[in-house]
Structures are given as C-alpha cells and as structure tokens.
Subunit: 497 residues, 2 copies
C-alpha cells in the first residue's frame, strides 16, 4: 500500500459521473499504489474528501488531479493519499458468503451508498448478494430503518398521516389519484408521493402531470397538503430516498428485485414521508411483479411485520393483477380514466378497486366516512380539483379536454369468442412503442376487457400515437405478438398444455 501523500493540482473534468470520481495520471496512480476503483483521500487546507480513482494516460497530466462533477468544489493544491476500502465492502463480501449482517454492517452499507462511495462493481455485488442469499427479517427491519435515516424526511406533527402503495407490474391500475381524492375528501391527511415510469408506459407521477405540475419541493408539498389534506407529487423531487435511487440503478439492468430490498425501499420511504397508516396493494398474476398467490401472501405478511417495527400501521391487500386494471394505458389515457371514475363513470374495475382501497385505508385510520357516498356526491371530484389547482393545474379540466394521440390504429378480434387473456407486459410494450410516457397522449385504449364476448372484427384495442413512426413501431409489435387472446369460453378456464 502506498503511504505518503502526493501533492496534486486540481483541475476540473466533466465526464457525466454520478459518483465522486477522480482522474489520475497513470504515473501518479502507480506512485500512490492505487488501482482503478480504489479510493483516495483528498485533503486541502479547508476540507477532506474521498474520491474513486479512474486512471488515464491522456486526460490529466502528472501532478494533476481531475475532479469530476461531484467534486467540483475542490480547487488548488491538494494532498492525496490512498484510502482504506469503505467498511461496507467487507460487509458486502460477507453477504456474498451468506453471513447474516448486523445492524452496524447494514448502517455502513447504507451510509456508503448514500455518500456514493461504492463503485458500480460493488453496487452490482450488493444487489446480487442479497438476491442470491436473501435478507432475514432482522436484516430487512434494520435496512428499512437505516434507509429511513438518510435523505430528507417530513414531520407532519399529525397523529394520522395516511398513505398508499402498490407493488406494481399491472398495466393501467391508476387507482392512486382516486384513492387520494376519496381519503382527503374524508378529512384525512394523505400526502402522496409517486414514481415516474422506469420500464412501464406511465407512472402515477406521469399521469398526474397531465393535470398539474408534480415536481414540488417539500415546502410546496406541505403547503398543498395544509390547504387540501392531500397531494400527488413526484417522489424524486422531495429526495426522500437517495439510497433507493442508487439501488434501483443497480437492480434495473439485471432485472432483479430482491424481496427484502423491495420491502425496505418501500417502507423506508413511507417512514421518511411521515406516514403512520398505510394500505399496501400486492397484485399477483402473470406479468405482475408477484407471480402467484402464496408468494403474494408471504410478501404481504413480511411487509406487515416490518411496518410494525417502523411504527406504521399497515394493511395489505392481495389483488388479481394478471391483466390490466382500467382501459387507458399511457399518461393521458390513464388520466382520462381517472377523471371519468371521479365523475362517476369510467372503467368499473378501476372504480371498484379504488373504492375498496380507500375504504380499507379509512377503516384503518378509524375515519367515519362512506367511500361510495364521497364518490357519488361529487365530494371526491371536488377534492381532486382542489388538489390539482393547489399544485398549479387547471381545476376545470374535463375528460373531453384530454385528447389521446390523433394517429390511431385499431386491432380487431381475429375470430369471435371471449377475451381469455390480456397480457400486461405486451400491453405495456405496445404503449411504450407508441411513445408513452414521453409522448403523453400516446398509448392504447382497451375497447374489450378480459372475459368480454367479442365478434370477429370487433375492436379489441386502439393504439394512439403522436408520431407516425411510433405508431408504425407499435403496430409492428402488436401484429407479431399476442397482446389479447380470443378463444372459446372454456379457454379461460381450461388450459391445454
């Protein structure tokens, strides 16, 4: 290990780095005895920072330290020396060896992720280790608590702060704006943060953005909630979970979602958001994140146990998620469904599911309210318009104002029969190819739903796009994949293998 510090002159380098990366000339790296991805300690007169090493022969000269984006504040002469590996790397190593981690280990990992101290290789090993070897209930509780400790947090000073979450994977399923409106209309505080689409055609935040801005800071969010009891904002703008963002970045390319990490990510965020009562929806079925009923039950039970430790009263619902909920898929098309439901119309499954989740949540907080009445009387709609206005949107928006993409293509039933299958993933892919979520009016509208009787030539679904080439792409995919299956009535009951 290199020992004495080397004196270097800081120079700014832009490389689009999200970690505190420093570029060293190969000669200086050798003198220091550091390899790529090792860390160095950087000391100036006024501060001490840690950097992750990249080695170059050209971009910085000997005697220079290339400081990237996160270390922009450094300047002048600095003393650089080799740093010990972050303590969390040995914890990750022990998890790879299938050892149970202590709370201190987990604290160390969370802290190092929060400070961007782990290289991508180490982050990849972390998510792989907990995917391969799992997290015990104790580890999951510790991880949830430690993740809640970092990043922002909101204190509402209320005894009851309601919240709602869905594990996801179901196309459409835009119940949140309806639930928020119902619960807030019942006089219960529900400051809801939601995500944007990562691989889906729309996240709740993308859908709400059709009505009003969703990128509110904590103060603006608090202001909206003070005035209306509710809000619907993008979670990213209140920065409640910087650690979660990093972990998702590592899980995403591998398409893994280790269960203990899912629980910790969701519940730590709820804790930081100040939630006291939570209804948590676990949809299961083909294409949903949870494949079958036993798995859904186990996950729901684990969620409840961890929530209890975090002092969150949680109720879990297990719902069928094997096909889309609602008819519109894509930000605007889902927004139109939401508004129609609030107006007393709209897709029945979306209305019933929203009412049920709101009812459970209101029971949980012991509120004295009838959800059907809140909806039928128009109080929920009025509450929705209040929130939209408070967030800076147009309160008078009507379903007719929401015009889906003008370029359309109808996919027809190739035979008469019953819709036996609507594939969540295929539906999402068609909508994404059509341009959602970036083209907000793109997506598709399900004219027929699971179980419907159709005649040959009936429209199964209509693809909407804003751009011709996107429409062509979506139609190309729709023509070569089975998005909806039409069969005999028995086909939906009996599968022949």
């Amino acid at each position: 290990m290199g020992a004495e510090p080397v004196n270097l002159e800081v120079t700014d380098v832009d490389i689009g780095s999200e970690t505190p990366t420093v570029l060293l000339n190969r000669g200086d790296a050798e003198e220091l005895g550091v390899n790529p991805l090792d860390r160095i300690i950087i000391r100036s007169d006024t501060e001490t920072e840690t950097g992750i090493v990249k080695v170059t022969e050209r971009i910085v000269d000997r005697g220079e330290l290339g400081a990237t984006e996160k270390l922009r504040h450094l300047s002048g002469d600095v003393d650089v020396s080799i740093a010990p590996k972050p303590g969390s790397v040995s914890c990750i190593r022990r998890k790879l060896d299938d050892e149970e981690l202590t709370r201190e280990d987990i604290q160390r990992i969370v802290k190092d992720v929060d400070h961007n101290m782990l290289s991508d290789i180490e982050l990849g090993a972390y998510v792989s280790a907990i995917y391969c070897n799992g997290l015990s209930m104790e580890e999951t509780i510790a991880l949830s608590e430690e993740m809640a400790e970092v990043g922002g947090s909101i204190d509402w000073t209320d005894d009851v702060v309601a919240d709602k979450h869905s594990v996801g994977g179901v196309a459409g399923n835009r119940v949140t704006p309806v639930v928020v409106s119902l619960v807030a209309a019942a006089g219960v505080k529900i400051p809801k943060t939601s995500s944007r689409a990562i691989t889906s055609p729309a996240g709740t935040a993308d859908t709400v953005e059709v009505f009003c801005p969703v990128e509110l800071g904590i103060d603006e969010m608090r202001d909206v909630v003070d005035r209306t009891n509710g809000c619907m904002v993008w979670g990213g703008s209140v920065d409640l979970s910087p650690v979660d963002d990093q972990i998702i970045r590592a899980e995403h390319p591998l398409s893994i979602d280790p269960e203990g990490q899912v629980i910790a990510s969701v519940l730590s965020k709820k804790k930081s958001a100040g939630s006291t009562h939570l209804v948590l929806d676990v949809p299961y079925g083909e294409g949903a994140k949870v494949g079958d009923l036993p798995e859904a039950r186990r996950l729901a039970r684990d969620f409840k146990r961890v929530a209890e430790h975090l002092d969150i009263e949680a109720e879990c619902t297990i719902t069928r998620g094997g096909s889309p909920v609602g008819r519109g898929i894509g930000p605007l098309l889902e927004a139109r469904d939401v508004l129609r439901v609030l107006e007393g119309e709209g897709p029945e499954d979306l209305r019933l599911k929203s009412l049920k989740l709101a009812e459970i949540l209101l029971e949980l907080v012991e509120a004295d309210a009838q959800v059907e009445e809140l909806l039928e009387s128009g109080q929920a709609l009025e509450k929705f318009r209040e929130i939209v206005e408070a967030q800076g949107g147009d309160p008078d928006v009507a379903p007719g104002d929401l015009e889906p993409g003008e370029l359309v293509h109808d996919v027809e039933a190739p035979r008469g029969g019953y819709v036996t299958d609507v594939d969540n993933e295929a539906v999402a892919t068609v909508a994404r190819r059509a341009g959602a979520p970036n083209d907000e009016a793109a997506g598709l509208y399900l004219e027929s739903k699971h179980g419907d009787e159709v005649a040959r030539g009936d429209v199964l679904y209509r693809v909407h796009a804003e751009k011709q080439e996107k429409l062509d792409e979506a139609v190309g995919y729709a023509n070569s994949n089975t998005v909806m299956r039409v069969g005999d009535k028995t086909d939906s009951l009996v599968e022949r293998v």
Copy 2:
C-alpha cells in the same frame, strides 16, 4: 421502448473510459427512451457500433453524441437507436438464480466481456453470481475453452511445450526463474508468461524485470524461445487473456476469487499460450489463497480434470504455503535470492522447491535429465544468463550488483525462543509499505525463518526502503502488528485457544 432512430452528430469526449461509453444529453436520452447503462446501436454510413449510455445535462448538447475513447473512430452524422440488452445479461441473471449455464450461455458471456459490452454493475453481478452459486465441472470446462478462444494465442508447432503455474498467496516463493532455467537447460521448451503484482509486493514479472525487460510482444517472445528454449515475460504484453483482465478488475475490489473462475482463467491462458504440459503448484496454509489441505486437494483434482479436457497434461503439487518461501521479499530482494540459488547457494527452501517442481515437470514431458546436476554443473545458471541476454538484460549480473534499498531498519526478537509463525500477509504488507513493487529495491529480508532458534535481540528481518517516509510507514506497521512470532518450541506444535 423507444423505436425510431435519432440522428446525432458525433463529438469526441475524453473521460478515461475503458468501455464503449457514449454520452447523451438528457433530452435525447428521454426521446430515445434509454436510461443510464442501457446500450444503443450507432449506425454511420460505413459501420455499426454499440455504445453504453451515460446521461448528462452539460457535457454534450442536444443533437450531439459524445463518443469516448473506445469509440474514437466514429465521426459525423450517425443514427442512434435503442439496443436490446446484451444476451449475456439474461445468462448472468439465470446464474444469479442458480441455474446451470449451457456452453452457449457461457460463450455469450465471454464474448460480451471480451467486447467490453458489460457495464460494471453487470460485471459485478457476474463474479458475484459465480461466487455465490459456483460453477459445475461442465461450466468450468466450457468457460476455460471459451476464454481460450478469445484474445491472442501462440502456436509453437512443438509436441512438448512445458509450463508452470502457482495459485499464489505465498510471500517470496520466486521459483519460476529457477524452474524455467532448469527446464530450458534440459532442452525442453518453456515459454513462460507471468503476472505483475496486484496486491502483493512483487509478481514474477516484477522480479524478472530487475534483470531484463519483460514487456515483449509475441514475435519477440518467440525469438527468445527459439534461441534459448525459454523466456520469462509479462503476460499482459502478449494479451492472451483480455477477458481475464476484465474479470480480475471486478474480483479485485471485492476480494473474491471464485474457484471455477480461477481454474478457467489459469488454464485458458495456458491453452492460449500453447502449453502442452503443466506443473501446477497449489500452496495451502494460513495467508495463502488456499486455506487447508482438503481444499487444496479438491482444487488440484479439479484443475487436472479441466486440463485434461483442454488437452493439457497437468501434474499438480500441493505444497506448504503457511509462511514465505525464500528470504527476500520485493522485486530486487527476490531477484537476488533467485540468482543465489542458481549459483548453488541461496535459501534452501527456495532451492529445494524449485528443483522439485522442475523435476516433476521434466518427468511429465519424459525428458531424460537430472535437475540437481543441471544446477550443480552451472548449466541452469548459464541458461538463465542466456535468457536474460536474449530479453535484453545484462548476462553478467552478480548478486553483489543487486543492492537492496539503503534505508534499513532491523526488527529484533523481543525474547529468546523459536520462530513459530511468519505471517504471509503481514510480510507482504510491510514490503508494500516499504515501497515494493514500485520502488524495486524496497522490501524486506528474512534473517530468521520459521522454526529457527533465536536469542533475544537477534534480527528477525531487515526492512529496506528507498525513501525515508516509506521506511517510516513500514516500520510503523511492523511495530504495531505481529509479523513474526517468537515462542517456546511447543508453541509451534500446540495452539492454545
């Protein structure tokens, strides 16, 4: 998934990247529907390339594609579209799920690593997956064969090409130059490639470099071997294993060395080097890479089985590796030991081990030669000088020419008794702190060895350094850690817990 291509103008960006990274402005990334670490296909009039996405808001403007080092050849207008994930990512995912991989899966992984197509997160997941879930014999054989297929290779057109390898972890242990000299002196071809130090105070290549250049290309290497039967070059300069370099880069920060990967890395390199007969040393003991005898036996057996499939005749030796072999630690100090052994003197354990390994290798190739005679007659020394000269070094070098670092510190026995323990890792750390391998004359010299009787105040070892601050660092470490333990004679036999 974004669909139609976006037209961008290439601009060069230097970020010290070892992967085919491209920088996209956030707006273009959103339009394409790509996230950081996704891949894009880049088409110009003349070529098609794949890039790994970084997203930036400042470094490149909208409409620009920032091409980093590996994509420097791109220029002008290009069409960019989202690429499917490399096929190997789903193979890695399946290995995380503990599935057995097929040869095609493994081929896909090796190819994508070779083309730098995996992000660090995916590479971290790959080494984690095979560490957690292991590789079967079939997978190890397939991995060895596929790794041998990529990168450079050498064809010697000889029936017998001898080779030698050690699994490592033992301080000193510089048997290779002696073995090469003995085997080449017996008239057997032995074109040896070796590594440099990664975490140790010296690799064989670092030690040989004290005598002569080691960075020879394949043609130069072939020329040396044609003239002398042997060579001792740095493996990195003949590029036999580009995939291995990437994998080591991922294993190193995690300090993991999955067994199947070790076997595949070693044997694929031997296959690419054209070796037909191999003696493979598996040292075991505290601080060595292999901890105990049963593990060493199992590893040796697996090595032999895989070697058989690669048509390499391998003999494995299991040797005690719980304490250093030889007396010098550090490039020059080890080089001096080597030269002394070839002159008929030097540390006894280094001489005996070198003779034994050479004897086994000569038996394996059915050569008619007596290793003791080759050493005592001076033929091995003469052969060594020939090789050094052929590689461009001074053939008349004498041990007296090799002067260890002038700054010295003696560590003395704190009591009388017997040396019961010499800690490999602590010895390596002292030598590295003293400046090895960058300061070639730095390191330490073991005046006493395991089992020696010492009086209070006798010198246990002498630290050598070229720079005062390095000496201070090494001494600081030596004073606060037990590098050598002195106890009663029974202490080496009975451990009291």
